[in-house]
Amino acid sequence: MMKANGLSGALTRLRRIPAIYWSIALLVIGIALPLAIDNNYIRAVLWEAGIYVLLGLSLNIIVGYAGMFQLGHAAFYAIGAYTMAILNIYLHVPIFIGMLAAIIVSGVAGFVITRPILHLRGDYLAIVTIAFGEIVRMLLVNNIGGITGGANGLFGIEQPSLFGFSFHTTLSHYYLVLFFVVITIVAMRRLENSRLGRAWTYVREDELAAEAMGVNTVRVKAVAFLLGSAWAGLAGALYASRITVISPDLGRFLESVIIFCIVVLGGTGSIPGVFVGTVGMVILPELFRFVKDWRDGFVGLAMVLMMIFRPMGLWPSRRVAMEMGEDETKAVTPAA
């Protein structure tokens, strides 16, 4: 416990620094880091982290703000990637228009699929989302409509280009992702304190009271799924535009679990938490690649230990922290 207190204390002190300084510092690091390190492997890792930050931010709307369990989020990541790939490969639609289509298709899919299950609470919702995620993946594997390429997936997606500039280096793709990450964060910040954002918090904390106060809970939840899924679709399209080869593995359950853990380990509802979670779930495992097959085991062990010593996440949002009390060690109540 002593060690955990030290770590918690340090993190609490760090969290006292106003968010604006953090944002500026992170942005500067985000721009400068890949320039300073002339290593394509590191740049690719940073790019991948950016994709997962986008995924984490998108799931954060559903899990963090609206408080619903979604364990099939990777399905919409896959839907986005496939939408763009199919449009580009068969119809030669430009990548950026394909990305727009990916956002729309994933968002609509998220809305339509989850609409009938919004009345389910907690665990049941988690379970149906697992089922839906698996259904989407199996449909892709079974080559639905003969256009998804079956288990092998699709290949030959073009590199994006804009006004004559072609994105083909890792660095250019990294900045493309960074651009979307920045836009997303600004949008999330504004969303958090908007009427909709406050409605989400209300629904998360007390659905019945929210409904009594005139919040249309079903609509508010449906919008969370719509936006979250749409943004996951964007992440999928961005992924596909660099890798140019996609397979149904994008939508597997493990992927959904990783995104879910990014949100929860960092602290649900917290934007900096998504970054912390991405470092823990994506960057560190990548850097520890030399331990090979033990990697997942260490990630798992870290997840268990994290939950025991800091169940509210490494970097909880201010709202959640206030609810659970500033003294974060209190959150761990020893078993009776």
């Binding site: 149906v128 698996e134 199996m138 097959d293 085991g297 260490f298 268990v304 025991i308 169940p311």
Partner: protein
């Protein structure tokens, strides 16, 4: 007609596996309201321990044969049951009052650990049990419908265990205490029930049944690998939900339905669509009836 009968028989066999594993999920959910995602991996570890046990027994240069399965199953049940209790003590007990999210993450983490251990100890290749262990032959029922000896043993053993569990939960003092704990921890404690003891017992029984299922699945299919826990476990979990999670007869019913539907789907539609059918069945059930098929009898929930 014969095809239908054969498919039904195969479906019931697979359903028995699902039911045995689903019981572990459902019992834990009953007493802790926790989705024990690591249960599938405990089941998988049963299959691996069975492999080790059989290899060791054969190494003692005994005459190989189906009898070997019996000591191996008993050994695996004991070890996996202890592993289950260890899991509860280390990964779940400290989180019992930490809300709903942390235990789920902890369970997923524990699943990763168990899977990683299996992959590193046994390797990422397909495992095959030593030959001459699985009983061969079969009985012709009607026409060309055959029940293999393996199927008969699987069905007999599964139904015996399920009946035993049902009797235990309904007719013993401990079983009654278990049902009480699943309704209300605090009231149970006031009635003099040692809640932690009951939870420990649940974590002994569920994984022990899972270990048996693991060995039987490995014998029935012939081979498996470290993804068994994730794939088969998820299916068994669906079976538990289908029947109504937290409900013991529900897990048995859910397992059977899932097995039969999958088998019929594979036989009449296409094998590659059987997983889609299983998941669609789950989604449909939950949309129409969120508590599962037998979920309404809250008073008898475990």
């Amino acid at each position: 007609m014969e095809l239908l009968a054969q498919n039904l028989l195969n479906g019931v066999t697979i359903g028995a596996f699902y039911a045995l594993v689903a019981l572990g999920y459902t019992m834990v959910y009953g007493v802790l309201k926790l989705i024990n995602f690591a249960h599938g991996d405990l089941f998988m570890w049963g299959a691996y321990l069975g492999y080790t046990g059989l290899t060791v027994l054969l190494g003692l240069s005994l005459r190989g044969g189906p009898w070997m399965v019996i000591p191996v199953v008993i050994g695996a049940m004991l070890i996996i049951a202890l592993l289950g209790v260890l899991l509860e003590r280390t990964a779940y007990r400290p989180l019992r009052h930490a809300g709903r999210l942390p235990p789920i993450i902890s369970a997923l983490g524990a699943a990763f650990v168990l899977e990683s251990l299996a992959r590193n100890i046994y390797g990422a290749t397909y495992m095959t049990y030593p030959t001459d262990i699985a009983p061969s032959g079969g009985i012709r029922l009607i026409g060309d419908v055959t029940a293999s000896t393996m199927q008969i043993i699987v069905l007999a053993a599964s139904f015996a265990m399920m009946a035993g569990l049902w009797a235990f939960v309904n007719f013993t003092r401990t079983g009654t205490a278990m049902r009480a704990v699943s309704l209300d921890h605090d009231t149970s404690r006031l009635m003099g029930i040692d809640v932690n003891r009951i939870i420990t017992i649940v974590f002994l029984i569920g994984p022990a049944l899972g270990a048996t299922a693991g060995i039987m699945v490995a014998l029935y299919y012939g081979s498996f690998d470290f993804t068994l826990g994730m794939t088969f476990g998820l299916k068994a979990f669906i079976a538990a939900i289908l029947g109504g999670i937290g409900n013991i007869p529900g897990a048995m019913l859910g397992g059977m339905i899932l097995g039969i539907v999958e088998s019929l789907g594979a036989g009449y539609i296409s094998p590659q669509w059987k997983d889609v059918i299983a998941y669609a069945l789950l989604a449909l059930t939950l949309i129409v009836r969120p508590t599962g098929l037998l979920g309404e009898r809250v008073a008898e929930k475990l």
